[in-house]
């Protein structure tokens, strides 16, 4: 199986990098340096080239260096023998320019899935602590990389949903109601909801064994984890749900049922992880979750995604790190980027890896 490999990277005014050039190893790249040296920024730039946007910022312009007028991130991706230059540039208050092979996409989403990537970062804890939207985004992001029909359905559904909600607000504000108008949107929601729901359901079903596998690898096999799907659509059709909740929706002035209310429930021994899991267990769970994503993408796309490990030693003890290196040596992973604040620890790890590894020191030059 072929690896996705970022061969080099050039950054201009990208967050705290005024100007930087990197050449990467096709296997392991360790980014070392003190806090604030911009290690995580490099990982995020790789994420931008793979996913068209930052892992950490939902607003593109937040990637522009303070007071700078623009940013550029570009690099050459290689899959097998095929090399593809990828470019992302943004001027303040202008539209982002994203190119692969010197050409823009008709739709940005067409880039997804070409150069898959998985980021494991301390902020992944949000998946456990935050609201259901974070978990839907997580799962949709994985599915959308290999299923364009799903992404289309999601976009159409969300658009129809916004219109339906606006209509419900209009009805309330004007003390009026028009069932035939609502029907215009209900029919569209009913068209797309099953597409979204069944894709998510199938994803979770195939995902759970992978999650269990990696959690056992992380924490031993005496602990049983799971992932469950919470959705009204498991029992009823969208038509039924909309009909059933119509009175409620009119009062609430928004749509209270549908795929946009679906959620993932992370469990430990059948109980909600957030309630019963220790800090350590929660950390292990999210790492297992992400490694499972790696496997899911690898299988769905037939290529090995780039793996970005931000501050991984915060999450893994020495034994797990050894296990990770073993997986690297067994060619389970493709290209890996890892950040660490301790150069000695990194040096030790790099020595263990059979393949070509590169240490990139980002500390300010003396």
């Amino acid at each position: 199986m072929q690896d996705v490999i970022l061969q080099d990277l050039r950054l201009v005014h990208f967050k705290n990098h005024s100007q930087a050039d990197f050449q990467f190893s096709p296997k392991l790249n360790a980014l070392v340096g003190s806090n604030g040296a911009g290690k995580t920024t490099v990982l995020d730039a790789v994420h931008v080239l793979c996913m068209t946007r930052s892992y950490f910022h939902s607003t593109d312009s937040h990637c522009i260096q303070f007071e700078a007028p623009f940013f550029v991130a570009e690099g050459r991706m290689r899959v097998g023998e095929t090399e593809t230059p990828v470019y992302c540039g943004l001027k303040r208050a202008e539209k982002k320019v994203f190119k692969a092979d010197d050409a823009e996409y008709p739709r940005l989403a067409d880039h997804l899935g070409r150069f898959p990537v998985v980021m494991i970062s301390p902020s992944d804890r949000d998946l456990i602590t935050e609201g259901s939207e974070a978990r839907r985004k997580f799962m949709d992001g994985v599915i959308a990389q290999s299923d364009k029909a799903f992404l289309d359905a999601l976009i159409q559904y969300n658009r129809a949903l916004s219109q339906r909600n606006a209509l419900l607000k209009y009805f309330a504000a004007n003390r009026t109601f028009d069932a035939s108008m609502l029907e215009l949107y209900d029919s569209q929601l009913c068209q797309w909801a099953p597409v979204i729901h069944s894709a998510r359901k199938a994803f979770i079903e195939s995902f759970e064994p992978r999650l269990k596998h990696y959690y056992h690898w992380m924490a031993g096999d005496r602990e049983e984890v799971g992932i469950a799907f919470k959705s009204g659509l498991l029992e009823h059709s969208m038509e039924h749900l909309l009909q059933d909740k119509l009175a409620k929706d009119r009062v609430l002035q928004y749509t209270s049922v549908g795929p946009h209310r679906e959620d993932l429930i992370f469990t430990l021994h059948g109980e909600p992880l957030q309630r019963v899991g220790s800090q350590g267990q929660q950390k292990s769970y999210v790492v297992a979750l992400k490694l499972a994503v790696f496997d899911a993408l690898k299988e769905a796309l037939g290529i090995k995604p780039i793996l970005l490990l931000d501050d991984i030693f915060d999450k893994l003890d020495a034994q797990r790190v050894e296990g990770l290196i073993r997986l690297v040596n067994e060619h389970h992973f493709g290209q890996i980027f890892i950040t660490d604040t301790h150069p000695e620890r990194t040096a030790l790890m790099v020595k263990e890896v059979n393949e070509e590894a590169k240490v990139l020191d980002l500390s300010p030059k003396q």
Binding site: R107, Q163, A166, L167, L184, Q191
Partner: protein, 164 residues
């Protein structure tokens, strides 16, 4: 005359064609006034820009009907803000045989098309929609001439576009 006065002047002088509701410099626009155009065929568009785009391709021999927008509750646009009732009236009274829906390939375009389809319901006409050569999400006016004239020529009965 300052800008706001100018705008006011413009608004006062702007009139809409009594037939097709396009912006016009007389009571009736030059297209509706042109007797050589096919009186039995009506092309429904969102606004004047779409009329101009289609006229550039010279594919439509009939006349137009300008809706003045698309149904979009988010933008405060409902059916009563559009000229749908006027469309129904024209179809009933002008001996129209074909109504061609040439709306954007957006959710709002689809919704509006469906609404018109229901309104025209049982009238004895051919209701067609331009083919979707246009990228999903694109407004009509941004389509290049070749794509636009091709999708116009390859128009299909509206029913077949439902639940694509």
């Amino acid at each position: 005359m300052d800008l706001s006065e100018g705008m006011e002047q413009l608004a006062k002088n702007t009139q809409f064609c009594k037939d097709c509701h396009a912006i016009a410099d007389a009571e009736q626009c030059s297209i509706c006034a042109d007797e050589r155009r096919d009186q039995r065929s009506l092309c429904v568009v969102e606004d004047i820009r779409d009329v101009l785009a289609l006229e550039n391709t010279s594919t439509h021999k009939g006349r137009y009907h300008v809706l003045g927008g698309l149904i979009s509750p988010m933008d405060g646009m409902g059916p009563s803000d559009l000229t749908v009732d006027e469309l129904v009236e024209r179809v009933e009274s002008e001996g129209i045989e074909e109504v061609i829906l040439a709306l954007s390939a957006t959710m709002e375009g689809d919704t509006t098309a469906f609404y018109i389809y229901r309104k025209l319901g049982d009238l004895p006409i051919r209701l067609t929609a331009i083919a979707r050569g246009l990228p999903v999400g694109d407004a009509l006016e941004y389509a290049d001439e070749v794509t636009l004239s091709r999708s116009f020529q390859q128009r299909v009965p509206f029913e077949t576009t439902l639940h694509r």
